[in-house]
């Protein structure tokens, strides 16, 4: 019951749609620094965890302690957003779903997709359930990442796993003619989904840049907790 409530309340249900999270291969959450890309990605991951799926969170910018902290905060915010919940119940659910999350922090300079491949292979070898999505936080799209994306694309096909990326845009840069930030423009064909987070006053507007029929829809999120605001 609690699980269901949390999934329904998740900002991801409102914006991307639960059934839609892993439909395709690549998704992107784009915003300039400090708006809440990683927090939004964590909400995507939490939704999957609540659906009893496994997830793999890879960060090239944050240490593992920080990643873990983000998940704790994300879960707490989600719990708080549905009103009073028995703390014992909330804790039990957390203990239940949390082990399905694996966080890995790599050095950006030495990151190699082969490492993820090795890891996923070990799942196959041990006949374990594969992660349903990979969160890839901190890949620098200001550089040429075409090679990395190509390899991740292969990995996504081989292991049937959807990869959600964070993409950092810059305040001073203008959007391209089709409304995409320049960092996404180059690789837009690779991505099935893209959500742009834009601070508007004290809230955050989540605009669907790319996602089939949902394209161009906009939603409002709380800037502190990344939870959806009832319209």
């Amino acid at each position: 019951m609690l699980k269901k409530d949390l999934i329904l309340k998740s900002p991801v249900s409102r914006t991307i749609g639960i059934e839609n999270i892993k439909d395709g291969r690549f998704g992107a959450v784009i915003s300039r620094a400090g708006v809440g890309k990683t927090s939004f990605l964590v909400q995507i991951a939490l939704t999957q965890l609540l659906m009893n799926e496994k997830i793999l969170h890879i960060s090239l910018v944050e240490p593992i302690e920080k990643i873990n902290l983000r998940y704790n905060d994300g879960y707490t915010n989600l719990i708080d957003s549905i009103g009073y919940v028995d703390p014992q119940k909330a804790l039990r659910l957390w203990e239940d779903i949390y082990p399905n999350k694996v966080g890995i922090s790599y050095n950006e300079s030495t990151f190699d997709t082969e490492k993820i491949k090795d890891y996923l292979k070990s799942f196959k070898k041990a006949d374990l359930g594969m992660p349903s999505i990979i969160i890839m936080d901190g890949l620098n799209f200001d550089k040429d990442v075409s090679g990395t994306l190509e390899r991740l694309d292969q990995l996504s096909r081989e292991f049937s796993v959807f990869i959600w990326f964070s993409i950092k845009s810059h305040r001073e840069e203008k959007l391209c003619d089709d409304g995409y930030p320049i960092q996404l423009e180059t690789y837009k064909d690779k991505f099935d989904k893209a959500v742009f987070l834009n601070p508007v006053e004290d809230k955050i507007a989540a605009v669907i840049l790319k996602d089939g029929a949902r394209t161009d829809k906009a939603f409002r999120l709380d800037s502190a907790t990344m939870t959806a605001i009832e319209e």
Partner: protein, 693 residues
């Protein structure tokens, strides 16, 4: 022994395995003229470091038992306990920390804060032990003391303050700059024994000035005089800075960071100065005992020699002259011939030969006064016992001891081994509270229990080497537990009338899961069960916890509530109510959805980056849950939770998967419910064993 306690330091040296603790201790003993030749750990000279006195320790290059030793530096008496770094021997670390006033936390300048450092740090916090940090191995490739200091802050939450700067690192490590005196120190002579003080090299002057400013800024928080001096732009004297560092360190509000390379004989002497200058004397530490004659009130002990004596036996060793008991005296003074009482069992004894230890060599002394560490011969006691003067009945706070998680059956090879094995087991169980032994009545096997595979392996080898007791070991067994998952009612009548005196007792109530091991709540009103039978009921219920009805594993986490019952004026007895309670428990237990719980271990693997994926794979294959993985330079750390039953032989597997380049530590984390499929396997095995019997 020095009686001016201001000039006494009781310190320990704690760290992750292979951080160089024993090497550091060896250098300290050399510079303080306690030894005349340096022996290396796992030395090519075939001698082994002085502190690793057990043959087995020398062979493995690890320190198993904490050898106590003392030395003198700058007119101060320093008692050192060398503590083991391996998690399996954590009880040794715990015991050392209980009796120490301060610690040198040794960190590797390449690996930084490692998993064991975190465990040791938690122990230091538990016993409120102040510490100074020594970033060792600055001569190694990849050395980065600044990173280690930052890790102390980020990972352990220490307010780390760098007190020295390295003059060159890796193979160019020449010496250090002392930021308090603003001098450069070099270490010359064959063994670095000659400290040469020079001016700071011009090329490092700016860096040194900035670092000193930062250091002064950080330590000024602990001294108003220093803050005033800074604000009034007066001269900042060395004494002023040192006093502030000392205050901050003793109050555990800051950790001064020193650096060097013990192996290359660099900067050990300044570390000794720091021990004397910044770590507390026994007078700076408040120790408490419990007064058993006064409602267990806490009493503060005074390091005064004419007060009644209070001492703690913190380690036992079996030497050629009988049992050697290491003691720390907290109050009063133990003189040869004094009468003391062991407050655990009230037994009186006379203090015989008193000694102080230098690794495995001993020096006779007349007395061990308060604040000092010594040892005595011929005392029958267990580790953790308190010795007091006959006029008081104090006990020192008990140490935090964990329950063993693994067991192994041992069978002596022959008759001679049988006798020696009993002797050895008797000794080991006295020495180490986490090592337990019992005889399985059903199989007749002797079972030993401990904190890990290595822990038991070491004791089996010690049995062979020290006692000549060769034993055949069985498969290691995990200490499973049973528990219930829901509330269930019981209503049981025990009735027997088969001639002679009858037996009658009825109990009713419920059992439910709880966090404690066992709880009993009596809610019987109106004398439905007379009060004098209630303890028998509790006894009966508790008795069932020892062996679970499901698989005969110990039962934990059960709260029993007794609500109602009935008795018979003639036929009821303690025995009848005990039997009724047992029947009631069995009745409810089956309905309370019992499950099996297994010990889950926190496993931390440190591996070169290229093997990170394989290491995570190994964990996955073992029902493990990876909590996270972090790349740190060329190494990766993989943290996980893995059931103990899946970890047997893991060191060999890890070695072969990583070309021997990875290492792991393992410690008990929690008991968790076994998954259904595994539980079925356990049940099957247990039934097979039963049918064999």
């Amino acid at each position: 022994m020095i009686r001016d306690l201001k000039r006494v330091r009781n310190i320990g040296i704690s760290a992750h395995i292979d951080s160089g603790k024993t090497t550091l201790t060896e250098r300290i003993l050399f510079y303080t003229a306690r030894i005349h030749k340096i022996n290396e750990v796992r030395g090519k000279d075939g001698v082994g470091a002085t502190m690793d006195s057990m043959e087995l320790e020398r062979e493995r290059g690890i320190t198993i038992a904490s050898a106590a030793t003392y030395c003198e530096w700058d007119k101060h008496n320093i008692n050192i306990i060398d503590t083991p770094g391996h998690v399996d021997f954590t009880v040794e670390v715990e015991r050392s920390l209980r009796v120490l006033d301060g610690v040198i936390l040794v960190l590797c300048s390449v690996s930084g804060v490692q998993s064991q450092s975190i465990t040791v740090d938690q122990q230091m916090k538990r016993y409120q032990v102040p510490c100074i940090a020594f970033v060792n191995k600055c001569d190694r490739s990849g050395a980065n003391p600044a990173k280690v200091s930052a890790q102390l802050r980020d990972k352990l939450g220490h307010n780390s303050v760098i007190m020295q700067l390295p003059i060159g690192l890796e193979d160019r490590h020449e010496g250090i700059i002392d930021l308090v005196t603003m001098k450069a120190l070099y270490f010359e002579g064959e063994n670095g024994e000659k400290v040469v003080v020079k001016d700071i090299p011009a090329s490092m002057m700016d860096e040194a000035k900035t670092a000193r400013e930062k250091m002064i800024d950080a330590v000024s928080l602990f001294s108003e005089a220093l803050t005033d001096a800074i604000l009034e732009e007066k001269e900042i004297t060395t004494d002023l800075v040192m006093e502030a560092v000392r205050t901050g360190t003793i109050s555990r509000q800051m950790t001064p960071v020193f650096l060097g390379s013990a192996y290359k004989n660099k900067a050990v002497q300044p570390l000794l100065d720091a021990v004397v200058n910044y770590l507390p004397s026994p007078l700076d530490i408040e120790n408490q005992a419990i007064d058993m004659d006064n409602n267990e009130e806490a009493v503060i002990l005074e390091s005064s020699f004419d007060k009644p004596t209070v001492a703690l036996a913190f380690k036992l060793e079996d030497g050629q002259y009988g049992q050697l008991t290491y003691i720390r005296v907290y109050q009063g003074c133990i003189n040869k011939g004094d009468t003391l009482v062991n407050s655990r069992d009230g037994r009186k004894f006379k203090a015989g030969r008193l000694i102080r230890m230098h690794s495995n060599q001993m020096e006779d002394v007349e007395a061990v006064p308060a604040g000092h560490i010594g040892a005595m011969f011929g005392i029958e006691c267990a580790s953790g016992d308190t010795f007091v003067s006959p006029q008081i009945n104090y006990t020192l706070l008990s140490m935090h001891i964990m329950e063993p998680v693994i067991s192994l059956s041992i069978v002596p090879k022959d008759n001679k081994a049988q006798i020696n094995m009993s002797k050895a087991l008797n000794r080991f169980t006295k020495e180490d509270p986490t090592f337990k032994t019992y005889v399985d009545h059903e199989t007749g096997d002797t079972i030993i229990q401990g904190m890990g595979e290595l822990h038991l392996e070491v004791y089996v080898e010690r049995m062979k080497r020290e006692y000549g007791a060769e034993v055949v070991t069985g498969q290691p067994r995990v200490a499973y537990r049973e528990t219930i998952t829901q509330k269930a009612l019981y209503n049981y009548t025990h009735k027997k009338q088969t001639g002679g005196a009858g037996q009658y007792g009825r109990v009713s109530g419920f059992i439910e899961p709880c966090d404690e091991d066992f709880l009993f709540v009596n809610k019987v009103t109106g004398g439905r069960i007379p009060t004098n039978y209630i303890p028998a009921c509790e006894h009966g219920f508790k008795g069932c916890m020892e062996k679970g009805p499901k698989l005969e594993f110990p039962v934990t986490g059960v709260k029993v509530t007794l609500e109602d019952g009935a008795y018979h004026a003639v036929d009821s007895s303690d025995m009848a109510f005990k039997a009724a309670a047992r029947g009631g428990f069995l009745e409810a237990y089956a309905k309370a959805k019992p499950v099996i719980k297994e010990p889950i271990m926190k496993v931390v693997i440190e591996t070169p980056n290229e093997f990170q994926g394989s290491c995570m794979g190994l964990i996955n294959q073992r029902r493990g849950i990876i909590q996270g993985s972090q790349e740190e330079g060329v190494m990766s750390v993989v943290e996980s939770q893995v059931p103990l039953s899946e970890m047997f032989g893991f060191s060999t597997i890890l070695r072969s998967a990583t070309q021997g380049k990875a290492q792991f530590t393992m410690e008990f984390s929690a008991y968790k419910q076994v998954p259904q499929s595994v539980a079925e396997e356990i049940v099957k095995k247990k039934l097979e064993e039963k049918s064999k019997k």
